[in-house]
């Protein structure tokens, strides 16, 4: 323990072998000041640039009655299929889509085939969308008033959790072919989410996934999560989700941002 660098209380990667105790060498990064040093006290919020642009995006969405949704999940949960089915089910509701992926325009091509306006953002090596990408992308779309903007984030349950895009709701998608304990493994995302879509419920007879256990794990980190159990493939449960969207687009409201 060192008073200067607070090393005993630092948030570090933890390593566990079941049934064993392991001892890893500590990084030596102790800071010792020299007499020539001049310390400048500052208070700089590192995410302020992203948060500032996100606030601007949010104001734009609210002023134009655009319901912006940030869809987050691990890869393969069925976000794009869910979007395709959602777009088809929404009928005449005006909407647009921003697709985020590291590479390829495949998802944008799938959305384009539905007739919805879409733009693909390729993040390259980046693991998340940020507010500036959304700002640039949304001005390439002809967004209408009283419409929905779906933002499909990069498939990743870690990094997108900390980048506010200016959305009204963060929608976490989890599929029943993943573990029901995902909310426990990735608590930061489920803590940040407002809505949770449990997808691929048509496969429940074939997999060991307890829907109620999954919800219970999620509620341990976020008791305000609203759940929808859906199958984008068969259409099961989609009606409730569509009705929720339609209700929100008429009177969009922003939940408390914490």
């Amino acid at each position: 323990m060192c008073d200067t660098c607070n090393c005993a209380t630092r948030k570090q990667t933890a390593y566990h072998i079941p049934g064993k105790s392991i001892d890893l060498p500590e990084n030596d990064r102790h800071h010792h000041q020299s007499e020539k040093d001049r310390v400048i006290q500052v208070e700089l919020d590192v995410l302020s640039k992203n948060n500032h642009i996100a606030k601007h995006n949010r104001e734009y969405f609210e002023n134009n009655a655009i319901l912006a949704l940030n869809l987050v999940s691990s890869p393969g949960s069925g976000k794009t299929t869910t979007l395709e089915k959602t777009i088809a089910s929404l009928g005449g509701t005006p909407l647009a889509v921003i697709e985020g992926d590291q590479q390829t325009s495949r998802d944008a091509e799938r959305i384009d085939a539905t007739g919805a306006p879409v733009i693909q953002v390729n993040t390259g090596t980046g693991c998340h969308l940020d507010a500036d990408m959304i700002h640039k992308a949304m001005h390439q779309l002809d967004l209408q008033q009283n419409s929905i903007l779906f933002i499909e984030n990069v498939g990743n349950l870690v990094c997108p959790a900390m980048f506010d895009l200016g959305e009204a709701y963060k929608v976490a998608v989890i599929s029943v072919t993943e573990g029901e304990d995902k909310p426990q493994k990735y608590p930061t995302m489920f803590h940040a989410a407002d809505v949770c879509l449990i997808n691929k419920i048509d496969l429940l007879p074939y997999v060991n996934f307890g829907v109620e256990r999954c919800k219970e794990y999620a509620r341990q980190v976020n008791n305000d999560l609203q759940f929808f159990e859906i199958s984008a493939t068969t259409g099961q449960g989609m009606e409730e989700w569509i009705n929720w969207l339609k209700a929100k687009v008429i009177t969009p409201t922003t939940p408390d941002i914490t």
Binding site: V158, M162, Q184, P187, H191, N222
Partner: protein, 114 residues
């Protein structure tokens, strides 16, 4: 790995603050990282070594203080520090669902030559 983009923001902001003071090098940098921010300190340190090359911060000592969240049990009102989720109340066993702070990432000081 979002730590790399975050580290690059940190370096940009620290460079700007140092230049505003007329400094040509930064000897040390002090950060506060929220335990619930989603940033791993050792990833950040790893990125810092790489991302600080050829900047005013090359070779600077990085000191990171972890800031826990302030949790409050909605059942029995016990207040407790939260360093990870989920967390159960030590008093009544309920999961702690009201959490303030512990999510920010801040630069708190830079050290430059006098």
């Amino acid at each position: 790995m979002h730590e790399l983009s975050i580290t690059m923001s940190i370096i940009d902001q620290a460079v700007a603050a140092a230049q505003a003071e007329g400094a040509s090098t930064v000897n040390a940098l002090e950060l506060e990282v929220g335990a619930l921010s989603g940033v791993m300190v050792d990833s950040l340190e790893f990125c810092f070594d790489v991302a600080s090359r050829n900047t005013l911060l090359e070779g600077a000592k990085l000191t990171v203080h972890t800031i826990n969240g302030q949790g409050k049990c909605l059942e029995c009102n016990l207040e407790t520090e939260v360093d990870s989720l989920p967390v159960q109340c030590k008093n009544c066993g309920q999961y702690i669902l009201s959490i303030a702070n512990g999510k920010d990432i801040k630069i708190t000081s830079i050290t430059i030559d006098e």
